[in-house]
Symmetry: C2
Subunit: 331 residues, 2 copies
Amino acid sequence: MAGPRGVTIAEVAARAGVAASTVSYVLSGKRSISPATARRVMDAVAELGYHPHAGARSLASRRAGVVAMMLPLRDGMHLPVLMQFASGAVTEARRADQDVLLMTADEGPAGLARVAASAIVDGLILMDVEVRDPRVETLRRLGLPSVLIGFPADAEGLTCVDLDFTAAGRVCADYLVERGCRDIALLGASEAVYARRTGFAERVREGFLGGPAGRAHAEVWPCPDDAVSVQRTVKELLVARPELTGLAVHNEPAVGHVMHALADAGKRVGEDFHVVVIGPDEVAERVHPHLPSVLVPAERLAEIAVRHLMRKLDGEDVPDSTLVEPQLTTR
Amino acid sequence: MAGPRGVTIAEVAARAGVAASTVSYVLSGKRSISPATARRVMDAVAELGYHPHAGARSLASRRAGVVAMMLPLRDGMHLPVLMQFASGAVTEARRADQDVLLMTADEGPAGLARVAASAIVDGLILMDVEVRDPRVETLRRLGLPSVLIGFPADAEGLTCVDLDFTAAGRVCADYLVERGCRDIALLGASEAVYARRTGFAERVREGFLGGPAGRAHAEVWPCPDDAVSVQRTVKELLVARPELTGLAVHNEPAVGHVMHALADAGKRVGEDFHVVVIGPDEVAERVHPHLPSVLVPAERLAEIAVRHLMRKLDGEDVPDSTLVEPQLTTR
DNA sequence: TGTCGTTGTCGAAGCGCTTCGACTTTGCAG
DNA sequence: CTGCAAAGTCGAAGCGCTTCGACAACGACA
């Protein structure tokens, strides 16, 4: 249908018997148009299958209708969560008639500068922002509207969205205490994760330690994620704290191993011992018995991030910082 | 640095003391330029941090420098594989100085028409193409350069890339036979997957059944992927074929359950019984003992797909059909 | 010395769209 | 019946880039 050169606004205008500018105004709604004219234009648009040329539009209007999403591609990131995030963002962006350009974090600050200078996108979403993130400074300098997932050390003037990890830690502790546990522990993330984004891990720790507030004894144990280390850590933990009856695991790959280690130690999870996971549903459901869990609500975060970005593109104000309440799923 | 309006080619030209067209030619290399001039231009580009305005470029040159990637977002897709694919594609595209626009399959054929008509992308990569895929017809009509991952029923005139699933089935059968198994079975995908993309599942089956070629008895058992069904299916299988000593599992979520069922039945995997997985490494490594496996080489496929697309954009010929040899990883 | 390719550079003409100012109509108050 | 604002529409001027044809300048060749 669409010829090799595509349908232009001029053809639509001719068919509707109006000027090209009128077609433009009908489509954008930036000037009032009589219903009769609007109708004829819309008909012509439909009959011709007209879609504005994205390049021409962006050139003339200084709006590309595209936002960039920069994904981290380091090892250690949980891929399914990333994917959920990406798809959530695309779905939400399309709702606002925007497209999404995918970038990877290894393009770094230079990548940001590139897309900004070439005006190929109107805004940016940066995922998995670290505490000390080299992209943040560039971002600030470029002045492109942006939303970050995660909180850098200096969030001044930036829009950030994330799960409220402090609350997540607290929710886990509360859950265990409510099950009657008087001695609980948090099996933390692997060292690599801690090293990179201390903020995130720190916040879970604080929430977990602060949650019981005297109702139980709480400790935090960092833990590597290979089978052997997990087995050893759990064993040491149980020796060090023989009265322990509750465990929160904030370390996705380790969950399965933890369950084995507990079984080996004679703990019956769900009966005389309680475990709660901070991680994706699949992780909590892969083991037996299924565990209660607090997940990172990727789609939700993506939705919020995109929505905030859209509002910034429209010149509206959005909160600097948005923390999503964690949700405990019992099973 | 970059003002709100960005650096234009005119400013670069002024700084280098040449015409704008000369700058353009230096950057594109489409006409010969004296080394001295080229040098001055490149210096000006660097000093000013110039990046061509993407919209203007696409308007004038009819080339957007962007390709679209349409990802499936159905349940049942293995998310990490998708993510690997996406990141592989972006990395490879950037190598050719192209960007990647992310779309989701739920935009359907209309989405393809949209991006084609708006000239926002130069080409398309469609992931996870099904045997009867409604997008294929539209794709053909649009005439946009494209590459598919997977094979639709009528691949006439299309460029398709995929893992050679027939070979994958054969490799698994061979592996088991070489371990001395004389009676083997393939525990197939869940029904939903079969229903959707028979081609894929069929090919594994054929390869698996044809592999032994008289050296062993081979059967294929389809299998749902919840724990209970897997337990039952494995039990039935072992009753039906008491001499069975080799099993290939082409059903990611089921692998863990299969191992439990086999242990319950007293089979010692790796000793008197052999199991091989068709699926991602993590799946094969999550169980004990680690299993040999054939994976879907997502990054590899993405790389090939992008490379082929780039060549098509340059008007070169590429093979209609590319099958990637499966690789068995022993552990 | 005149002619002809080469090589390197320039100016101008768009690409298809948005947007601004101006113009024509229409409705209504005076 | 006149005057004026509001409503609806148009034409033209770019947005920043690529590309085409033209044109100097320069050797090489006859």
